[in-house]
């Protein structure tokens, strides 16, 4: 994978918004996916070059 940049983190936020406000996705599912993506975002921001 290439270097993690602020764009990667922004892309993750765009993704969580798409999940949460997507009528085709159950809100509970969207919620659990958001947690996963937020966790990934924090980990990337801290640990991955």
């Amino acid at each position: 994978m290439g270097k993690v940049t602020i764009e990667t983190l922004r892309a993750l936020v765009v993704a969580t918004n798409s999940l949460r406000f997507n009528p085709a996705i159950d809100p509970d599912t969207a919620d659990s996916y958001e947690r996963l993506l937020v966790g990934l975002r924090d980990e990337l921001a801290k640990e991955i070059e």
Partner: protein
């Protein structure tokens, strides 16, 4: 009178006051946390959500309202309050419905419409995102990002209206620091090579070392980074000084030139004035105090005069879904690779890869 960012928080800033429709103040509303949309410009880390959720529970709810702006369709974009939103969501997820409605200050919905007003409002929202996060615990990297983004936003805002005062001073006031420190952040942003920026982001180096590194030529920084990767030792200011010494051209000892060349009468050319793009890099540095154990306790302010104002950086446009999907595809592959590398965390990486796959599909739908 100087530029007052606080006026934006009251909904009475210069942008809002362009028409009568924009003179209204923000109103307090209790909004379903499911209807709050995170801002993609929020670059702060979202740590300690569980601790915050516990605090909210102890306090009987969110006491400090978030700041939001209406998006239409009953949704609101969060300007300040991303962690509160996530913590409340967590409580709701645990079946604690009492936390579903979160207090929010909503910007006036009956505001002026039009491309210019919308653009100005977007700039103000982004400025507020930074200036309303003053209480948050920030890393050095956060501070550099704050200063950089605030500068870009102010420069962009200046294209629409006159903002009195020096950008560096305005940024310093808003971030509760000094103009000299903002100058250091600028130098780091402009001149530090990506490898060291990553280390700063990962808190492997501090702001003082990052600043001193940013004063070195880029090729010297690259060599230094390579050395650090090989030795795996933490970077100290002493290391930076050594790299700086190594990079300087050799000059004969004082007096030797006069004896051998007889050039005592030659007058050296006057130093060239710094160009606009050289920024803080051309400024000489004061020696940094070093305690006996070699650890860095502080670093000096750049020598006067203060660094010249930098040229504005173009502000980022909202990320397109297609671009986000492309970036996340790369990330999904990374998660799948990590499945095999971190066997103990395989389930987490698998879940993340799955979440990314669904997100990518949603973005491309």
């Amino acid at each position: 009178m100087g530029f007052d960012i606080m006026s934006l928080q009251k909904g009475r800033g210069t942008v809002q006051a362009r028409s009568k429709a924009d003179e209204g103040r923000a109103v307090l509303k209790y909004i379903d946390v499911e209807d709050l949309v995170p801002s993609e410009d929020n670059f702060y880390s979202m740590s300690a959500i569980e601790e915050l959720a516990s605090l909210i529970e102890l306090s009987g709810g969110v006491k400090q309202p978030a700041l939001v702006s209406p998006m239409g369709g009953g949704k609101y974009k969060v300007i300040a309050g991303h962690r509160r939103r996530l913590a409340s969501l967590q409580l709701v997820k645990q079946g604690k419905e009492a936390y579903r409605k979160m207090p929010c200050m909503v910007e006036d919905a009956e505001r002026e419409q039009g491309p210019e007003a919308d653009e100005l409002r977007a700039i103000d929202e982004a400025i507020l995102l930074i200036t309303t996060n003053g209480q948050r615990e920030k890393t050095d990297w956060d501070k550099v990002q704050e200063a950089t983004r605030l500068r870009a936003l102010l420069e962009k805002k200046r294209r629409f209206e006159k903002i009195p005062g020096e950008t560096r001073k305005i940024i310093a006031e808003q971030l509760g620091t000094t103009p000299a420190q903002v100058g250091r952040y600028d130098s780091i942003e402009k001149h530090l090579i990506p490898a060291f920026k990553t280390w700063l982001e990962q808190e492997k180096i501090g702001i003082s070392v990052a600043y001193e590194l940013s004063m070195l030529p880029e090729d010297v920084q690259e060599i230094a980074a390579e050395e650090c990767r090989e030795t795996r030792a933490p970077v100290t200011l002493e290391d930076v000084r050594r790299w700086k010494r190594d990079a300087e051209p050799w000059t004969p000892p004082a007096g030797a030139e006069q004896e051998t060349t007889g050039a005592a009468e030659e007058v050296p050319p006057p130093p060239l004035p710094p160009t606009e793009n050289e920024g803080v890099r051309t400024e000489p540095t004061k020696p940094t105090p070093m305690p006996p154990d070699g650890k860095i306790v502080d670093f000096p302010a750049p020598s006067s005069p203060p660094p010249a104002e930098d040229t504005p950086r173009p502000e980022k446009e909202p990320m397109h879904k297609r671009m986000a999907a492309n970036i996340l595809e790369d990330l999904q592959m990374y998660c799948e690779e990590m499945l095999g590398i971190e066997a103990g965390q395989a389930e987490t990486w698998m879940e993340r890869a799955d979440a990314l796959a669904v997100a990518i599909a949603a973005l491309r739908r």
